[in-house]
């Protein structure tokens, strides 16, 4: 382990060398993990090992190699299930959180009826807005929106007013990718249940950085992406409760999702197979499972404490510079810090920081309605992952000062 920095025990988990890209670019301060995380050696190795030693198509088990590949894929499903405290039959592999949400919007249990209401929040990612808008256009649904307070929290009183007998679904981000806010999803689920509505929780930003227990939380749907969870791109997960998924029609048709096909009529597999048409991203699932092992080996509580500590330090030091607005709640709850510097557009900030070797996200972060609410076009966002250290915070602060001097 690298020695602790500046007296903060958790300011360096000593994991940078486990990431080949970061090891090869010692000057890079990568602060865009919320967009996509870098990949640890063990994940790259797991995919390589699977392709070179156990690869064949799955669920076509007339030969032993296919059985081995199937075991690896289904083993990955079981791994996701234990990671989130769900059952394997509740875990559907998809391309990512975006596809998971589109799947639910398309195949909503019981189907949509005209006038059904879907409740979203003002801080949702476009991936948790646009699929619902498309469903609304097709089926005459009404979308209602929970507003966000000035300090970046949901207005829960407004949720109480919005929820009603017509509410079929509440879809909410667990942690806001733009603000870093940890939303009170337990309360939201409880209130939605009182009016008989279902809840989808978008865990794209929570799964990589904190312990999530779905048996305890008990949402109807939960989604996340592999690539933000230190796993491969093109793999993600929909978890649907075991009493909900069987009520849903298929999303895409094709091979592997059927029980029996004839031109008179086709019957479908039970979930999760029903929702996995065609050959899935088998190696991606294997890589994701290895990424989840990696996170558990480090410890989710440790990761959460580490990332939050870095974000907290970045937040308070940004504010001390003066002329900086930081969005999101004062009590930092994740590794995300979103800010604007007076007189410096976020894109110019990103370019100046890039020249100092600091990679941040700038712009609307796929949350245009949120920034409309704040009356700005977007923000600069630094997001911390498990490989970041206090040296990255230092570099961020120094870079912001360079921008302040340049645009003074």
């Amino acid at each position: 382990m690298v020695p602790a920095h500046r007296g903060t025990a958790l300011s360096d988990l000593g994991l940078r060398q486990e990431f080949p890209l970061l090891a090869a670019r010692p000057e890079l301060h990568f602060l865009d993990t919320a967009a996509s995380a870098q990949k640890p050696r063990v994940v790259l190795e797991a995919e390589r090992e699977f392709y070179s030693e156990r690869y064949a198509n799955i669920h076509r088990g007339a030969y032993s190699l296919s059985v081995e590949a199937t075991d690896a894929y289904e083993g990955a499903r079981a791994r996701v299930a234990t990671f989130l405290n769900a059952a394997p039959r509740e875990v559907v592999f998809v391309r990512g959180a975006t596809e998971a949400i589109n799947l639910v919007a398309h195949s909503f249990p019981g189907g949509w009826r005209e006038g059904d209401e879907i409740v979203l929040t003002e801080m949702e990612h476009h991936a948790n807005i646009v699929p619902w808008q498309l469903a609304a256009q097709r089926s005459g649904l009404v979308i209602r929106v929970v507003p966000v307070t000035q300090d970046g929290r949901l207005e829960l009183e407004a949720l109480d007013r919005i929820l009603g007998p017509r509410t079929r679904l509440v879809a909410v981000g667990h942690i806001s990718n733009a603000l870093g806010t940890l939303n009170p999803v337990e309360q939201i689920i409880r209130r939605a249940r009182e009016v008989g509505a279902m809840v989808l929780v978008d865990g794209a930003q929570s799964v990589p950085g904190r312990k999530v227990d779905l048996a305890e939380l008990d949402p109807d749907f939960f989604v996340f992406s592999g690539h933000k969870t230190y796993g491969p791109t093109g793999i993600g997960v929909l978890v649907g409760r075991n009493d909900v998924l069987p009520k849903m029609p298929p999303y895409q048709g094709g091979g592997d999702m059927i029980a029996k096909v004839s031109f008179e009529g086709t019957t479908f597999k039970l979930p999760p197979g029903r929702f996995e048409a065609g050959t899935p991203n088998i190696a991606g699932a294997v890589g994701l499972a290895r990424a989840l092992d990696f996170l558990e080996e480090i410890g989710l509580d440790k990761i959460e404490a580490h990332e939050t500590a870095l974000a907290k330090e970045a937040r308070s030091r940004l504010l001390r510079l003066g002329g900086v607005t930081v969005y999101g709640p004062e009590d930092v709850q994740s590794g995300i810090v979103s800010f604007n510097v007076a007189g410096v557009h976020p894109h110019d900030m990103a370019t100046v920081l890039d020249q100092q070797g600091v990679a941040i996200r700038a712009g609307h972060h796929c949350c245009q309605p949120l920034w409309h609410r704040y009356g700005v076009p977007g923000s600069a966002r630094a997001s911390f992952g498990l490989y970041n250290t206090m040296a990255d915070v230092e570099a961020l602060i120094e870079g912001v000062q360079v921008a302040q001097r340049l645009f003074a």
Binding site: H345, H347, D348, T351, Q355, Q368, W371, P377, L406, F407
Partner: protein, 142 residues
């Protein structure tokens, strides 16, 4: 490639005090350009007399590069014929993309925005206003 090549004094000045900024009266043709990737938007207003850009204004929100580019463009093409403006657009486009060496004599102050050629992620910021100008001129010709 250095920050001072991208953020030249001319750019910083036009970003701080954009020229020809503001919404004019009804007798202007206009077009809106947006960059969906970053959310930048600019609306260019032109009033043509015969084949000449008699006046040009713009409004919008964007980074220093896109704001300065719009401001420099408005100053440069005001009073020019449409053909001259389009020739300038073509050259700015090519120079910003790195497909041509900037012709300082032709560009004047506008040459400053060609600093983006070393910053591929920012080329669209520099060219947004120019593409929008082309559309506004097309509107004026309708």
């Amino acid at each position: 490639m250095s920050l001072s090549e991208l953020y030249q004094d001319v750019i910083l000045d036009h970003n701080r005090r954009p020229r020809r900024y503001g919404q004019p009266g009804e007798d202007y043709a206009s077009a809106e350009g947006t960059n969906p990737l970053c959310g930048d938007s600019v609306t260019v207003f032109v009033r043509t007399e015969d084949d000449r850009i008699a006046d040009i204004r713009f409004v919008g929100s964007g980074c220093a590069i896109s704001t300065a580019s719009a401001s420099l463009m408005a100053e440069a093409v005001a009073g020019k014929t449409v053909a001259e403006a389009m020739a300038l657009f073509q050259h700015v486009h090519d120079a910003a993309m790195g497909a041509a060496e900037p012709d300082e004599a032709m560009l004047g102050e506008v040459a400053a925005i060609c600093g983006v050629r070393e910053f591929p992620a920012r080329v669209k910021c520099a060219t947004l206003a120019w593409h929008t100008l082309k559309e506004a001129i097309a509107e004026a010709g309708k």
